[in-house]
Point group: D3
């Protein structure tokens, strides 16, 4: 998977709030970029990296018995070994949290391989074990049962839906405590560029509000005096 | 799409109740073969044919505007023109009934092309228009909005999920007033073979029950005297 | 099952609208008497009879294989043979419509035995076959798969929940095109008694409204002149 | 309620398919105009008229006892008497189908008063009685219990949500067998204007498809020869 | 907003468990007072104050673009500036957690203004930022997208539904780790009065149970000896 | 309740991950053993013990008023006093989290009586109080309202459904941070026996993976060299 997104863009996005990013995407007409239902396994996680996808369809009893994993080409296991360092494993589980889509051994392997993170609209098993790792993870909830009960791993790196959001391989996944945003790859650079002043302005607003300012005319900026104030605040930094 | 299922098998399946088929599949360990949520557009419809699939993922505003249909390779339109006569269009809409997955013009075109039927876990628009056609259709409900609002047509004839059921291209879709069953292709012949005596026995049971018989020992057959009775009933046919 | 509800009460209830009955029960503090999700299999069905219950719990693979029905004491089959004539089979399927709770053979047997009707918050298989019978039926939808896939038939004539409503054996089930109401047994007589004048008044109202009357002061009756009008209308009948 | 929508616009909209209307609105950026969950009470119903709204909030036991209807200013009853002829009663029931939002007496009164139709995302009681009237109705399902059990009628003609769609008083509600579309009032004229040629083109397409034409290049029109064909078809009408 | 609830009542309610309050309201016939789905953003939060409401309806693309916030009268922003100190902002988001209903800047502003807390049946963005503030908050989950994607802020201080519960301006909202209860304003004083002895008795029960006592006859109090025990316990305090 | 499961089996199960157990049960054909929706009240909880069940059906206003608890035979209170030490209280709340199924006083009493834990698919009230106890608890969420609002406690120690899973009295409930598994009683010993080597192998795998090994051929074990490696690893322990 080749992604043309620069390390600088990823670094910026990794420190940008998902709330800022969804607003910037909304301004460009994108209303459906937030992975619904995917919660962080622990607080304080940050993530930015290109999507590497795994698609599950419903399991079938004759194909998805316990022996399915004996096949060295089983797509879930292959995905874990082939996802490039820095990429994010994004799994399409059709929002089904009744079983797991991965567990702590696979998460550990991905961490060893330098994978940036895990995002799934299904469950994760041994979720507290995964939470102890460094690799960040977002899922619809802890769920012990093996994925074979409900899922058949089918495709690696095809476009998928995850949490009702379209995810194309190479799209930039950004995560924080609120959840995960999927930024279409071709917009990542410009979103990162716009994020910096927007976050800076929000820092200014927060400081003003903490000092007792009203939000009217300040958030968003509509009063000219607030612009002047912001500019001197910026200059003073 | 090559299917080795004989015309005779299809003919048998088309007149077999989906309740019978799900039981025969359950006996072989298949618990998840009934397309959940797909209701017939009108009563009396029967269907048997190999699945030809169309996969939708969630729409993205920059890819799925009204102009998407100007592309002659748009997968939904291509599917309608390429699905073989006798096949069944099965659509993966992730169970989303808020928009349509097809409408009466596409349904009419498929009828003209000899398509056997339409099965979707999404909506159908101009549903009463489709109901007036000969081509049978099952969906999660009438729904007027264009598919572009929620769906991006992506894949033709890939394995999909439909109504939480795995559907592989070439699987045999059988439908009646209860709904639609997906029979894995390699089992179609033997399921058809077993369906005949099972339906015959159920005809016998129904006749006995209408005559006042108790179902204990008769349904299922456990009392030897009922076996004898059935055999003479059969012989008399 | 002994029920002290008179044939006269049942006859009155059978011709009373479920909307009237839910209002009469609401006046006595009962807010939760309408079986949620249970729709009539066909229009024009009427039902009144004491509940005879069947309770399903989730199936377990080692107990609920296809051989479960070989046991002549299987509670579903026993229920069908033991439910008294005039009673209503009410099934607790935990609202799960993914499988059937009964089919046309059992329905035919119950019709032969004089059973008054079938109410389930699960599915019915061969639903169009059942719709052709005389026995009325309400369910959450047609569903072909055998009940063994999801259900283990456990108890006969224990108190159950059906469509989120408590149903005690002997409670009076009344059904029409809107759905089914469960009347606690000890209230059946007084509800029937109150239903007659209430329905008569509603007939009067409907006639007045068709004649152009406003509903204010008429429905409900708060204007004295309407009471006089009603009384002469009654006298003229 | 003053609406500037002409009788001619309403007449056009009443014969336009909701599928056409949702597409025309989608072309203008409106993705959420189809009342989700509102099904027609019977087939063949058509509707076009300005919205007159009734808003319910959850009921409270001390405010919404059976005596609530004794108040001649009860908003539900007032709405029924004050809604202008030609308008459509649109009710916000928060999608709750467990109780009714109106019944056949109120529907009859509205029919007498010349009301154009009823749209609700809740239930309707005595639904088969309403289905026998001429006034068309769309709801989330038949439901016998009185609205007082779950609803407190609060506002008349305030903006509401109905079936997850924003409905402002005076918006034009158009309904057919697929369901109901809400057209923002200021767009009604131009949508009606655009609907005529679009429906005419679809008639042409359907005729072509019935004659064996492929949809590629025809639906939508991208091949020049089809434009010529359409123009001669039009001329011949 | 004028509320006649005394500071003493609020102080009592703020230290009373919501479980106690729902029981006291249930004794008076109120079954639906607990805001369903609203979870605390962090543990240990306590809240008591009169409701100040904000009502959202579904968004419409032409009204709810990013520029909507430029209007200084935008109801969300106005609500934040006008809600009185000590009051609780209660938002009706129709239970939709797919977008935010407020974020950390607005929460900070409300904290500065002395607002008692935030209750919503929708999402909150920058939820971990809000959790670091002193102002307590309950919501259906963290959610990054801006409210404009799904919500149109319409009304300030109208009666609303929140988490399926009716909330009238001035009702007393009380929150703890279980969630939030809405006490009808006219009952706040008597509920507070009854809460004190009830909580005291529960303290006594807990002490007895920790000492090995059975709950039968103790919880609730039905054995006379337990009353005597309680009275000496009380006297000893 | 007599259970033949040995203390040794329980001790083994208590330290086995639920993910391991669901896989071992899946190998034996059990797909539905994980209590859906039951989350731990706090992290780090472990549980193993035989199920003692309590079944709720929907409440009825005339039976389930606040006085219901005055009856010393109320099944919820009786269950709390009669559940044997070491057993697990498992409650069937039909997945309804809108009210509580128990609170901190009952939980404290059970802890005093040596009860092993609490599992419910409903809510728990004063959930943070319960979380401070030693007795572990899993539920669908905190919920303050009394169970009487929605539940009627009916049966003690009958087979139930909990979180869509069949639970028979005496089945072994095992819980950890992922959730709770129900092991059919007759399988507990063999599952415990198989769990030990499986967990040991997973420890080995984790160590290998942390050391940089690929999972292909290792997890599951298919490469002979990994078997040898495992055996020397085992020997070295």
């Amino acid at each position: 998977m080749t992604t043309t997104v620069s390390a600088e863009t990823l670094a910026t996005l990794k420190t940008t709030a998902t709330s800022t990013l969804t607003t910037l995407l909304f301004k460009r007409g994108f209303r459906n970029v937030f992975i619904q239902g995917a919660r962080p396994l622990k607080t304080g996680q940050r993530l930015a990296g290109p999507a590497f996808t795994l698609r599950y369809i419903p399991a079938r009893e004759d194909l998805d018995g316990i022996d399915a994993f004996l096949d060295p080409r089983h797509p879930q296991r292959v995905a874990v070994e082939e996802i490039p360092p820095g990429a994010v494993l994004v799994m399409d589980c059709r929002g089904d949290v009744s079983v797991a889509s991965a567990g702590s051994i696979l998460a550990t392997r991905m961490q060893m391989r330098g994978v940036a993170g895990i995002v799934t609209d299904g469950g994760l098993r041994d979720a507290s074990g995964i939470a102890k790792l460094e690799i960040p993870a977002w899922c619809s909830g802890p769920s012990a049962p093996t994925n074979l009960i409900r899922h058949h791993a089918l495709d690696i790196n095809a476009p998928i839906g995850c949490g009702d959001v379209p995810v194309y391989p190479g799209d930039i996944m950004v995560g924080d405590d609120d959840g995960v945003v999927c930024i279409p790859a071709h917009l990542a650079d410009e979103i990162a560029r716009d994020a910096v002043p927007m976050e800076r302005y929000e820092d200014f607003v927060l400081e003003q509000v903490r000092g007792g300012a009203s939000i009217i005319g300040l958030y968003p900026l509509t009063k000219p005096e607030n612009r002047a104030l912001f500019e001197s605040w910026l200059a003073a930094k």
